[in-house]
């Protein structure tokens, strides 16, 4: 058997170019996605540290006090948002871990459409290059990631920067739509015999819900982007009030995509955390069906709450009342998830490996970000909180940090399976503490800045906000050390001689990926595992 496998692998030693540029293997494509995500994280991270350096003290220190300098600051804010959302979190969660582990977990030999998988990845790279181009021409797009017209229209952003930004999102969006179709088809049609939909691991559930959100939300963004593009270049006036258009229409289109987008980012994180909490508590997930359908419910409700990003546009008050009520509903399924994770740990036999530490930190940060979300759901409270640092703190906790912590958790959890090596334990723990303490020092004071009324997206601020901003910037420095340490961890892991066995985590790790060797061989599940009558695979 061993001989046969080794022999089989011999047929698959493509050269470097064929392997990495023409790849159709879900594992290699997953790896490519993870590397692109890490590279983009460096770019997006450098932008945020530039912002924090500028904001460390009142006054303008690192940008010039003229239109170019302030435009550059707005470009940093815009670029940081775009890169983190579209080129860091989504590629790592869906493209990276999704590609690697969905086929492994459902017992499929590969994704349903391997070549489409390849084009999804390369479209993402093209989108990233277009975005970087946008930042370097004609002053860059200083519109924020929300690209609201008229600021993003040809009158106020002449030059090609915004057009390149639009094309970047178009291409990245096409990449995601293709990826989403691939996941839906794979999950619906390629599960091992006996793995019914109600026996899929929760990570697979998470990717399935996410894929549907992508499929339904991204075309709306694409439509809006096309209208903006024709407004800018071909004389249409969808968003131009002087010719009968309406700038608020853009906000509806953008947030109809934009709100599901934040769940696209966080639902795969839910999946990763569910796997990890179950594995290290050595218990199946508590309330499996409730967990799965909580994600589905979040996905569905996520499509009817978009205007809570737009409370200040001058809505009819009844409309705001509806969106307040609908938004608060989301707290219920998210509460179910939090409590189910706690109940999974309850009665367990918890092993505090690094992925589990990250999962616990995730739960804490997600709860903090979640409760401030309840405040922001209220259109009345929004009269003081809209566009302040309170919002910045909220969404960084709930989707930024929580997502990044889940990505770290997933990386430590699965790197043994992906590389066959063990990460350096001590260094990983140090990295964990630097990062988690750093991000809390960075973002917690921003709640107070926001309560005091500090608006977001400003390069300078009244002196009263100086103390909290200084603390935030110190936190950014600690986070930067944690980030650097992560790259040291990657290097030490790949340089390590310590290999791991097929099931690195022992009795708690029950999903199918732990039944194949580490590192996962080139081809897996060539003979479909029979899951008939087995317990739910969570």
């Amino acid at each position: 058997m061993a001989h046969a496998e080794a022999h089989h692998d011999d047929h698959h030693h493509p050269g470097f170019f064929t392997r990495w540029f023409c790849s159709t293997n879900h594992k290699d494509i997953g790896t490519l996605y993870l590397w692109v995500s890490m590279f983009a994280a460096i770019v997006g991270g450098l932008m945020s540290w530039y912002i924090r350096a500028e904001l460390a003290e009142p006054g303008l220190q690192f940008i010039s006090n003229d239109a170019e300098g302030k435009q550059f600051y707005n470009v940093l804010v815009t670029g940081h948002g775009f890169i983190m959302v579209f080129f860091v979190v989504m590629p790592a969660m869906i493209g990276g871990f999704g590609n690697w582990f969905v086929p492994l977990m459902i017992g499929a030999p590969d994704m349903a459409f391997p070549r489409m998988n390849n084009i999804s990845f390369w479209l993402l790279v093209a989108g990233f290059l277009l975005l970087l181009t946008a930042a370097f021409i004609d002053g860059g797009p200083g519109t924020g990631w929300t690209v609201y017209p008229p600021l993003s229209s040809i009158d106020f952003h002449p030059g090609r920067a915004v057009d390149f930004g639009i094309l970047s999102l178009h291409v990245a969006g096409a990449s995601s739509i293709l990826g989403a179709i691939n996941f839906i088809v794979t999950i619906f049609n390629m599960r091992a015999p006996g793995m019914t939909i109600h026996r899929m691991p929760l990570f697979v559930w998470a990717i399935l819900v996410t894929a549907f959100l992508l499929l339904l939300a991204l075309p709306v963004l694409a439509g809006g982007l096309t209208m903006l593009l024709t407004d800018r270049n071909f004389g249409t006036a969808f968003f131009n009030p002087a010719e009968g258009g309406d700038p608020v229409l853009w906000q509806h289109l953008f947030w109809f995509f934009g709100h599901p987008e934040v769940y696209i980012i966080i639902i795969p994180a839910f999946g990763i955390i569910s796997q990890i909490v179950s594995t290290f508590s050595k218990k199946p997930v508590f309330g499996y069906l409730g967990m799965a359908y909580a994600m589905a419910a979040i996905g569905v409700v996520g499509f009817v709450v978009w205007a809570h990003h737009m409370y200040t546009i001058g809505f009819n008050v009844d409309t705001r009342a509806y969106f307040t009520a609908a938004t608060m509903v989301i707290a219920v399924p998210t509460g179910v998830k939090i409590f189910s994770w706690l109940a999974t740990m309850w009665g367990g036999s918890i092993k505090f490996e690094v992925p589990m530490m990250y999962a616990l930190a995730f739960i804490f940060l997600f709860v903090v970000g979640g409760v401030t979300g309840v405040t922001l759901a209220n259109a009345s409270a929004d009269l003081v909180f809209h566009d302040t640092y309170y919002v910045v703190a909220h969404f960084h906790y709930v989707m930024g940090l929580a997502a990044i912590l889940a990505m770290f958790a997933g990386w430590y959890y699965w790197i043994g399976k992906m590389s066959g090596r063990r990460y350096p334990e001590g260094l990983a723990r140090i990295q964990f503490w630097f990062f988690v303490i750093g991000v809390n020092v960075l973002f917690f004071p921003q709640h107070f800045s926001g309560l005091a009324g500090m608006p977001r997206r400003i390069p300078d601020y009244p002196d009263a906000y100086a103390p909290y901003n200084y603390i935030s910037s110190v936190g950014a420095l600690i986070t930067a050390i944690g980030t650097l340490l992560f790259f040291v961890v990657i290097w030490r892991t790949y340089a390590s001689k310590e290999t791991v066995e097929a099931n690195q985590w022992g009795e708690g790790a029950t999903t199918l990926e732990w039944h194949v060797a580490s590192p996962a061989p080139w081809h897996t599940h060539e003979e479909l595992p029979d899951m008939t009558g087995k317990a739910p695979a969570e």
Binding site: A321, M328, V336, M345, S349, I350, F364, A381, A464
Partner: protein
């Protein structure tokens, strides 16, 4: 920088204890203070309601975070590998699952009632005593008084190097907008170019100024004084440099000011926007 922090701490402490007494002499100064950990003091009926709502929300939220943290801490100790070597296999408890779905719903309904009351109260006033028109421009505000002879003027940011002693950095304008206290003021907001947002935290007013639309809200200022706010919607390179300054005065003083202002601004041709250096820079 540390030196700056050390000087700010005593200043903040002094500000906390000096309180209203000192401020009342010349009216309140409604802007944020160093180390402030809470909302700015509410200075309008709407702001008071928003303030109370936020107190309620904050207590509920702090309680939830502590509750979850306490469970996490207990679980981490009690059910660690060392203290509980054999895991249980429990995966369902219907009562528990119903409880943690139903109780949050009840809490949310409890929040929604005061929240929606506040929302409807703050939305508009049926009996406005006067109207203020607010127009956003890149990057200054124009104000108009349609009920007092329809004069208009611009309120332009004063850069740091031109500040007089005592004027706050980034919050000072050349001409503050003057409003009477204890008056229901209807606010009509629009924009000449991109979307801006006219926001005064201490009055709980925050509404977009959108080209092609007129948005309406209202306020009623409780006390004379200086009220500060900043543009709250990204509007281009000088977004951080278009502050709002309201000078709230007694009704008598307001009448006097209106008489003078009519003289001063009536000659302004309101249809023509004055050419601003700031505006010239960007095009």
């Amino acid at each position: 920088m540390l030196k700056r922090l050390f000087t700010l701490v005593p200043a903040a402490v002094a500000a906390m204890f000096s309180g209203a007494g000192a401020a009342l002499a010349e009216g309140v100064v409604a802007k944020s203070k160093p180390w402030q950990m809470w909302l700015q003091e509410p200075m309008s009926p709407s702001a008071e309601m928003v303030h109370d709502l936020n107190v309620l929300l904050m207590w509920i939220e702090v309680a939830i975070v502590i509750f979850v943290l306490a469970i996490m801490a207990y679980v981490m100790v009690r059910f660690s590998e060392k203290n509980n070597p054999t895991p249980s296999k429990t995966t369902h408890n219907t009562m528990l699952e119903v409880a943690w779905t139903a109780i949050p719903i009840l809490i949310l309904v409890g929040i929604a009632i005061p929240s929606l009351k506040t929302l409807y109260f703050a939305d508009h006033t049926p009996d406005a005593e006067m109207t203020l028109k607010v127009k956003g421009n890149q990057w200054y505000w124009s104000y108009g008084y349609p009920d007092h002879g329809d004069f208009e003027f611009d309120s332009v940011y004063v850069p740091e190097e031109e500040l007089k002693p005592g004027q706050p950095r980034l919050l000072t304008v050349d001409t503050p907008v003057v409003l009477p206290v204890d008056t229901n003021i209807r606010l009509l907001l629009t924009s000449n170019d991109v979307i801006h947002n006219w926001a005064i935290p201490s009055l709980a007013v925050k509404l977009d100024t959108t080209p092609g639309r007129t948005n309406e809200t209202w306020t009623r200022i409780n006390q004379p004084g200086d009220y500060y706010g900043m543009c709250s919607e990204l509007c281009g390179v000088n977004h951080g440099f278009m502050p709002i300054h309201i000078k709230a005065v007694s009704k008598e003083d307001f009448a006097k000011w209106v008489a003078g202002a009519k003289e001063e601004y009536a000659s302004n041709d309101t249809d023509k926007q004055p050419v601003r250096l700031a505006k010239a820079q960007v095009r």
